[in-house]
Amino acid sequence: MIAYILKRLLYAVPIALSVTVISFVLVFLAPGDPLNAIAPADAPEEVITALKSAYGLDKPVPVQYGLWLWRALQGDLGTSIASGRAVAGEVMSAVGNTFLLAGLAAGVGVTLGCILGALAGYRSGGWIDRFASTLSVIGVSIPHYWLGLVLTIVFSIWLGWFPAMGAGPGGSEAWEWNWEHFRYLILPALTMAVIPLGIITRTVRALVADMLEQEFVVALRARGLSGRAVFQHIAKNTAPTVLAVAGLQIGYLMGGSILVETVFAWPGTGFLLNTAIFQRDIPLLQGTLLVLCLIFVVLNLLVDILQPLIDPRMGR
């Protein structure tokens, strides 16, 4: 088991390194000039040249990458070209905000997805199966942007139940765990929960329905095990796959949704990425992408470690 964990940890190193290369190079491939973040559109050439030199953008890309990586390894992700603020601070505050949103969205999506998927798998072909299948198809196909706007129109403008945007009455810095603040989370979290809900419902439904036809389940029933005991066996056998799928989904959610966070003006990683992309703020873009990719790598690593704990065959 320890050898398995060590192996997985070692695999993560080249992946993380590749992530740094890709996140650095990708932003240079995009059209536009990073100095557009700070220079007016009609800035003369001498201003552009002075800025390039001031921000080290006049150096060759591999040199810039080397310097950036060296600083990143020491926890310094540089300074945002546009705002002058430290990228690490910008990203961590956005990650915290997205964590709130993704946590609730993942909780709703995974829990409901498992319940609906299991019920649909057990009642394959019945009305609940049809309902769950329809819901999962809607979940994976509905445009988020549209759903967010519809939820806002219905629940904010027509009914006045929830705020239309923002991260609390005083902003995310003044966040408190009470209803007054929590209500700001509900609409964006519901919008974001729809995709994992759809995917997990579909996965669990297929796994449970398939598992019910397995010989070992027939044997368990033949031995007179109660329905609850049989369900426990099924749950244990489906858990590793569900965990893997849920891990990926939570990873996506942690990446923040540019569209959902923009529609709800939620100051998370998606909103930050959107700002960084439109401003060509290269240090901010690279730092955000790096942190998000590392979160994804760590989540997958956690799933890889948890899976053999549930199913020891996977650790062999």
């Binding site: 007016p40 001031a54 002058g84 995310s172 923009t262 700002t275």
Partner: protein, 536 residues
């Protein structure tokens, strides 16, 4: 007569009520303003994010030496004294300008505003050897004050600025240059990034709170020097909401009290719900800037005029749900510099077709041209629908245009490079669609019409050269009589229109939507707005 103790009891009972009433009478008034930017613009002195950002963290926190009158809406503003009470050119050497500074002005941190602060701030943006030099602020303002060659303090309240050449339009550059406190920079450890969260200017508001990408709280500066510009609201909360629909939703749900640029689709709902839409003449134009270089399909003036006659501008305004004004030239027809063009922009298909026929083209034998456009972005209005409208309109008269669609940042690159650059001419691009700010004579006229500024020396993108225009613009730079200056600028503008230098379509009107809670907001005919006029 009632005994004393009975009266006392009555007074004691009334006192809390009186205090409560007093408290409510003096309750802080707050205006929450949903702005279209994704982040709060720079707060250190020179805001980033273009001209539209000056109203938020520029002229609220800081003052320029020469200000723009932005608290009037029924006429165009003009240059007015700011931190300088007076400015005049030296008659013996017209490159030298003397500025008399206002006395008794204090920065928000309590330090006094004097000539040293002006020189220090000029060094901050123009002298990269100075310890306070800030590349970010410099990048914002250096292109806006290109005439400054040198500067020096004469005494505590007098500064002399020397321009590179004689430039009578120089004062128009100064509303862009804002003065921040040297003492605060020292106090913040000489770190501009720290100053950003605790800035200090001389403006009508102080920054109380800054949460990046979420809000900036501006509170009234009760000790502001200009009593005519005292803030009418105690606190203005700027809330960045880049998505137009989200901004409208925030207004409809009462999360903000006013928004800029409401989406045209939502206007009927906003109006029906009691919200007020305000808009005004704004120095902006949405044009196709033609290349007049040899080989361009637009070198023939008949084609350029035909294009201008082929557009139903009222229909474009309808497309924008009324949030635009038909263009009659580069500047609005009410502008001092409009002049008397003989070529009237209008919708006249018959005349347009006749001109195209004269030039040898028709619907069956169309002229082909490629236009570079942005898919959207600041100043571009409804870029794609409007461009498609223009495309269909031009097709009617025998001009078949195709588009090269790029992101706005990329479009700027094509713009700065000029029509002759390989990235434009090499790709067959002969016109560019970019929303232009036309706030002052240089921005509205000189930079596009003067052959001195043919790209890449400036943004005379299409290489327009007209000796009469060049001569008039030379005179403008050396004429210090505003009346004569305006006459010359009018001549240049009418020549631009008569030469059909661009295809002018509409002017933006910088619309705002206000909740009924907003009792007053004076929208200036400018990108500079005065937030002190907001009254709740």
């Amino acid at each position: 007569m009632k005994p004393f103790y009975k009266n006392l009891a009555r007074w004691l009972m009334a006192a809390p009520l009186a205090f409560a009433l007093h408290g409510s009478l003096h309750a802080e008034t707050v205006a929450r303003y949903g702005i279209s930017m994704a982040d709060i613009p720079l707060t250190t002195g020179q805001p980033d994010r273009g001209a539209g950002a000056y109203q938020f963290t520029g002229h609220t926190l800081y003052d320029p030496l020469v200000a723009w009158e932005a608290n009037v809406g029924n006429r165009p503003g003009k240059l007015v004294p700011g931190l300088a009470t007076d400015w005049k050119v030296n008659p013996k050497d017209q490159k030298k300008w003397t500025f008399t500074l206002r006395q008794g002005v204090k920065f928000h941190d309590g330090s006094e505003f004097k000539a040293d602060a002006v020189v220090w701030n000029l060094d901050k943006v123009l002298n990269d050897k100075s310890p306070q030099f800030d590349a970010k602020q410099s990048a914002q303002v250096r292109p806006r004050i290109p005439s400054i060659a040198s500067y020096k303090k004469i005494d505590d309240y007098t500064v002399e600025i020397t321009t590179k050449e004689v430039d009578a339009l120089f004062p128009y550059q100064l509303p862009w240059f804002l003065v921040s406190s040297p003492a605060q920079w020292e106090k913040m450890g000489k770190d501009w990034n720290k100053v950003a969260s605790q800035p200090s200017g001389t403006g009508p508001f102080k920054l109380d709170k800054l949460v990046p990408r979420e809000r900036a709280d501006l509170v009234k500066n009760g000790a502001y020097w200009d009593k005519n510009r005292m803030a009418k609201t105690d606190r203005i909360v700027l809330v960045p909401i880049p998505d137009a629909m989200t901004r409208a939703n925030a207004l409809l749900t009462g999360q903000v009290d006013l928004i800029e640029t409401p989406p045209p689709d939502v206007l009927p709902q906003l109006k029906a719900s009691g919200f007020k839409i305000v808009q005004n003449v704004t120095p902006h134009v949405w044009p196709y800037h033609f290349s007049t270089l040899p080989g361009s399909p637009w070198t023939d003036i008949r084609v350029r005029k035909a294009a201008n006659l082929a557009i139903d501008r009222d229909a474009v305004v309808q497309l924008m749900s009324g949030l635009a004004k038909p263009a009659a030239g580069q500047v609005d027809s009410t502008s001092t510099w409009f002049g008397k063009p003989t070529f009237k922009l209008g919708y006249d298909l018959k005349a347009a077709k006749a001109l195209m026929a004269e030039a040898g083209y028709s619907k069956d034998k169309p002229l082909k041209a490629k236009v570079i456009i942005a898919q959207g972005g600041t100043g571009q209005m409804l870029s794609l629908p409007m461009n498609e409208f223009v495309q269909q309109s031009l097709a009617e008269v025998g001009i078949d245009i195709s588009f090269e669609v790029v992101e706005l940042e990329n479009l700027y690159l094509h713009w700065r490079s000029g029509a002759a650059a390989d990235m434009n001419k090499g790709k067959g691009i002969s016109a560019i669609n970019l929303g232009y700010v036309t706030a002052d004579p240089f921005y509205a006229i000189s930079r596009f019409a003067d052959s001195k500024y043919v790209a890449p020396n400036g943004v005379n993108w299409g290489g327009y050269k007209n000796p009469k225009v060049d001569e008039a613009l030379d005179k403008v730079r050396t004429t210090f009589d505003t009346k004569v200056q305006n006459e010359l600028l009018s001549f240049v503008h009418q020549t631009m229109v008569d030469d059909a230098l661009m295809l002018w379509v509409v002017h933006d009107t910088n619309p705002h939507a206000l909740s009924p809670k907003v009792k007053e907001f004076i929208q200036a005919q400018h990108w500079f707005q005065d937030l002190t006029t907001i009254r709740m």
